[in-house]
């Protein structure tokens, strides 16, 4: 960031953005972004009842079970983070 940028409205914008979980920055890697995508997706499924119902029918599970499963999957949606590559 430039010195001139530091105090203007744009820095405030970035500050505001940084307050939201799920926003990214220039150093986000594939894994981190994917985790956010997955969590957003599960949150969305859980939040829209018709979606839940749809998945429940498709998987032949109860809606409550589906909801529970999605919530559990939000914990580690993509598995463990990959080893840091040394660069």
């Amino acid at each position: 960031m430039q010195v001139s940028d530091r105090f203007n409205i744009n820095s405030q914008l970035e500050h505001l953005q940084a307050k939201h979980v799920g926003t990214g920055h220039s150093d986000v890697n594939r894994f981190e972004w994917a985790v956010n995508i997955q969590r957003d997706s599960y949150a969305s499924y859980v939040g829209h009842y018709p979606m839940l119902a749809y998945f429940a029918i498709a998987e032949n599970e109860s809606i409550g079970r589906e909801r529970y499963n999605f919530m559990q999957k939000m914990l580690l949606p993509c598995g463990l983070p990959p080893e840091k590559e040394d660069d």
């Binding site: 914008l13 953005q17 939201h20 894994f31 957003d40 498709a58």
Partner: protein
Amino acid sequence: MEVDRSAVDNEIKKSLDERRNAESVAPVSSVTFDSDLYEDNRFEGYVRSIPVNEDEGEADGDAALLFRRRMSSYTGPKSLIDIPRADGEDDSGFKKPSRIIDREDEYRRRRLDRIISPARNDPFTSGETTPDASVRTYADVMREQALQRQKEELLKAVAKKHEEEKSNKTAAAAAAEAPAAAASQKRRNRWDQSQDSDSSSAAKKTKSSSDWDAPDSTPGIGRWDATPTPARVGDATPSISRRNRWDETPTPGRLADSDATPAAATPGATPAGMTWDATPKLGVLATPTPKRQRSRWDETPLSMGSATPLPGVGTPAAAFTPGITPIGGVDLATPTPGAINLRGPMTPEQYNLLKWERDIEERNRPLTDEELDAMFPHEGYKILEPPSSYVPIRTPARKLLATPTPLGTPLYSIPEENRGQQFDVPKEAPGGLPFMKPEDYQYFGALLNDEEEEQLSPEEQKERKIMKLLLKVKNGTPPQRKTALRQLTDKAREFGAGPLFNKILPLLMQPTLEDQERHLLVKVIDRVLYKLDELVRPFVHKILVVIEPLLIDEDYYARVEGREIISNLSKAAGLATMIAAMRPDIDNIDEYVRNTTARAFSVVASALGIPALLPFLKAVCQSKKSWQARHTGIKIVQQIAILMGCAVLPHLRSLVEIIEHGLSDENQKVRTITALSLAALAEAAAPYGIESFDSVLKPLWKGIRSHRGKVLAAFLKAIGFIIPLMDALYASYYTKEVMVILIREFQSPDEEMKKIVLKVVKQCVSTEGVEADYIRNDILPEFFRNFWVRRMALDRRNYKQLVDTTVEIANKVGVADIVGRIVEDLKDESEPYRRMVMETIEKVVSNLGASDIDARLEELLIDGILYAFQEQTSDDANVMLNGFGAVVNALGQRVKPYLPQICGTIKWRLNNKSAKVRQQAADLISRIAVVMKQCHEEQLMGHLGVVLYEYLGEEYPEVLGSILGALKAIVNVIGMTKMTPPIKDLLPRLTPILKNRHEKVQENCIDLVGRIADRGAEFVPAREWMRICFELLEMLKAHKKGIRRATVNTFGYIAKAIGPQDVLATLLNNLKVQERQNRVCTTVAIAIVAETCSPFTVLPALMNEYRVPELNVQNGVLKSLSFLFEYIGEMGKDYIYAVTPLLEDALMDRDLVHRQTAASAVKHLALGVAGLGCEDALIHLLNYVWPNIFETSPHVINAVMEAIEGLRVALGPAVILNYCLQGLFHPARKVREVYWKIYNSLYIGAQDALVAFYPMLNDEENNIYSRPELMMFL
């Protein structure tokens, strides 16, 4: 029609030419100032004929004299005359930094009496081990506190005894006064015989009154008086290294300097003669005063005692030596330092001295045997018996004399020069340190020494570092301050609590501290607290000593800051430490200490929760040892209630139980504070929690029968707050019980009691269960007899309370009863009283209406109001005006018979020579216009309209504004067609007034013009409207938003009335002017015209104007488009395809501003047409907007980002996401940064919607990236 048209064209052309000449459109490159802001044409419409000085008026002879006489009675223009003018140093418009001490009252200044006590033992860290003897433990502090109390009591007893003795002696002493005085003088001289000749010689040569030649050779009495200043301890012995006063650093701690400060002239301190010159002092001493008797009473060389002719007048020297010559102090009836403050204000320097001195006293106390044992080795030393004849010298003045002088006789010696000292010019602060104020030298002086850093021990280096950082925080520039603050925070644990607080806290006790500095230092403490956490424990009390005074500061933010610090402190140190630190202060002898401690405790309670503190409070409130402890404990409860409000509800019962026994305490103060605490609790708990107060009802109601005076007032207050919590039935019963006492106390002469009684009556009356009949019969007669008297109107608080209470009573008993009782008083001879009556009537009538008022009362009322209105001499709060308006509006049609009379009054007053009266008359018209219409008095209104019209030449802007307001009210009510004077005459008269730059005039005028343009534009020729348009352009610059908005709306009305073409031509031409603000306002006006006359009437001309190859014009057009699309909203869908090529061009322009403005136009356009099927055009525009995302100029990038946001709304997030995906993982960081920024705002705006559009990622060996759920299909 055609002829008319060309006439208008000519008119426009002419005025345009005029404008062009006036504005002299300059080339873009040249710099022009906003000439019409800075030239005096802004005073057009202002009166220019007021004589500038007296001479001018006199030269004109009689006429001028007459004029002046008329002027002298004007009351209106005061606001113009008294414009706060810059007085040299303060022209920035900001408040000058003010020293805290200057606005403090005596009580608050007592904070400076407190000593920052040494650090205390932290039992948590030391664990089981016995604390070191050098560390102060809780037990030590408690012991000291007890000692202090004993000492205080003893001193009191001594003083009392002496007082008695003195009164016994007086008779005898008076008889033998003259010889005694002579004798005493002789005796006084005995103790410094060397003085004898000196003083007499000094008395002879009265000329040698200056300091530097006399006292150094002759350590005169005056000199000794001055010595106990700490800064001079070294000087106390008449050593040859005495410094000359002239070349000393001006430390604030010097008594000598206090002479220089104007504050030394404060009453109570006798500034002259004490330090400066010994001679006048000797003269004083030589004159025998009755006080001299005292030195006989004890043999102490009581020099300064005799220097004060009156015991009430404290000389600074006397004030500063209480500990050193305790007996002398007793003699002066000022035995303690704490008592000194009662004697009148002192300069901060003196305070500082006092504090220093007590600090020194604390440290220089004689070493005890144990301490000596600890210091010396056991072997090789022997303890000798003191000689039997030895008597220790307790009085330092004698101690000093006992010191052998180096030469035997104190002759003059050339003072040795100290080369290291600072002269008047402050030394350049090394190493980029900020400027030091003189009073800072005391704290930061060490930083100026050029000693090598390496030579210092690590500890000293650390200290230096802290000092540097603190100085930067205190006096530095904002960036310096910021970094220093951060460093202090980061390194807090490294520096350690001790060194940090030892530096910070004395600074906060600096008497010359300013608000801003205190704020910064408090901030430092706050930050450091977070970091130090439990390390802070030994310093809790120290911190409290400096922070507690903030809790009673008059500045709200200081109080909040103090609360925050104490709250953080209690979280860091824990409850046990807080209690241990503050417990000794709870029964401190000083009321100030107890008061602040109680407040601090309430903050602790709010930080750590009330339940945690309950056991402690219970114990304190039941303390058997001292009433002070009980008093403070109960006060803590009161403060908790005030601080926490309804949060006390869960603990209400326990809090009440803790304090209830205080109602029957043997000490009167405890009973009072208990009642006040109950009042505070009830107020905080309202309207709940009556069951918690059950146990105190009986003692309270019994108490009001047995108590008198202050206690009774407190009890009544508690009852007043408890009654509103009760059920109707009980409230009625208890009200009747208390009312007897209240009615008795109606007669109390005590002001405080009066206020409380009024308040309680109000509270009782407003409760449900109290019947109107009861009030009418039992309360009203006495109430009116005792309270509705002239005297009550004189005190502002009484006045307010009485009005409030009466209004509350009226709510119960109705209008007629109350108004009937006081209406006669509208003709009272005291104006403040009349005003109070009027305000009450106004409130009662506007609350309850006037239907209760019968014909007779109505007549009386109008009569009284007219009388009061006419007789008023000063009415700054508009009480009379409001009252008049309220009554007339409440009576409605019943006012009709009186209207001619009222209008007569108004007309007469409109002609008054006083501006204020004229203004008020005009204001009254606007208040009663609606009622006049209701009474069908249109003819009367027309008449008033004509009268007002004639007064449009009014010179005083305030009055002119009111006259315009009155005209507006009349026009609004009777309509355009019936208005007299006819609109076609009225409006041309208003056009020149539009030039007036006074806000009130502008606002009323534009409202009136706008109203006419809206409703009656057809009455005025188009030419006149064009003229008004030009004036309106100027008004677009007004500071007040209301005026700008009214102006813009008026533009719309005018354009609607006379067609947009002419107005638009004017406006488009205006885009060429140099001044930016004018252009901006013009673009707004164009957009408004487009909105009111439909965009298609404006857009072609506007877009055509874009072809003008001039930057300003093109940008103006783009800006107009931006506003236009903002205003027309979804109407934009009809025009989007028309403007797209223009926007395309603008978004590709080399000029940044073009692209910026076009982007904001795209934003508004997109937001307007969202969901209306214009995606094709919008995607096209997005393609032009997108390349601008790499702009760095803040305004441009902001506009571009907003345009993208707007397009997201219109196009849906998927489109923008697809644009984004190409850059999120771009190899260049700069690119990624920008793309992630866009992604983030996209994500925040449409998180949920994005789920459907994320790209499909493939799983890797350990990680699942795919989203199989989305593949499911039924």
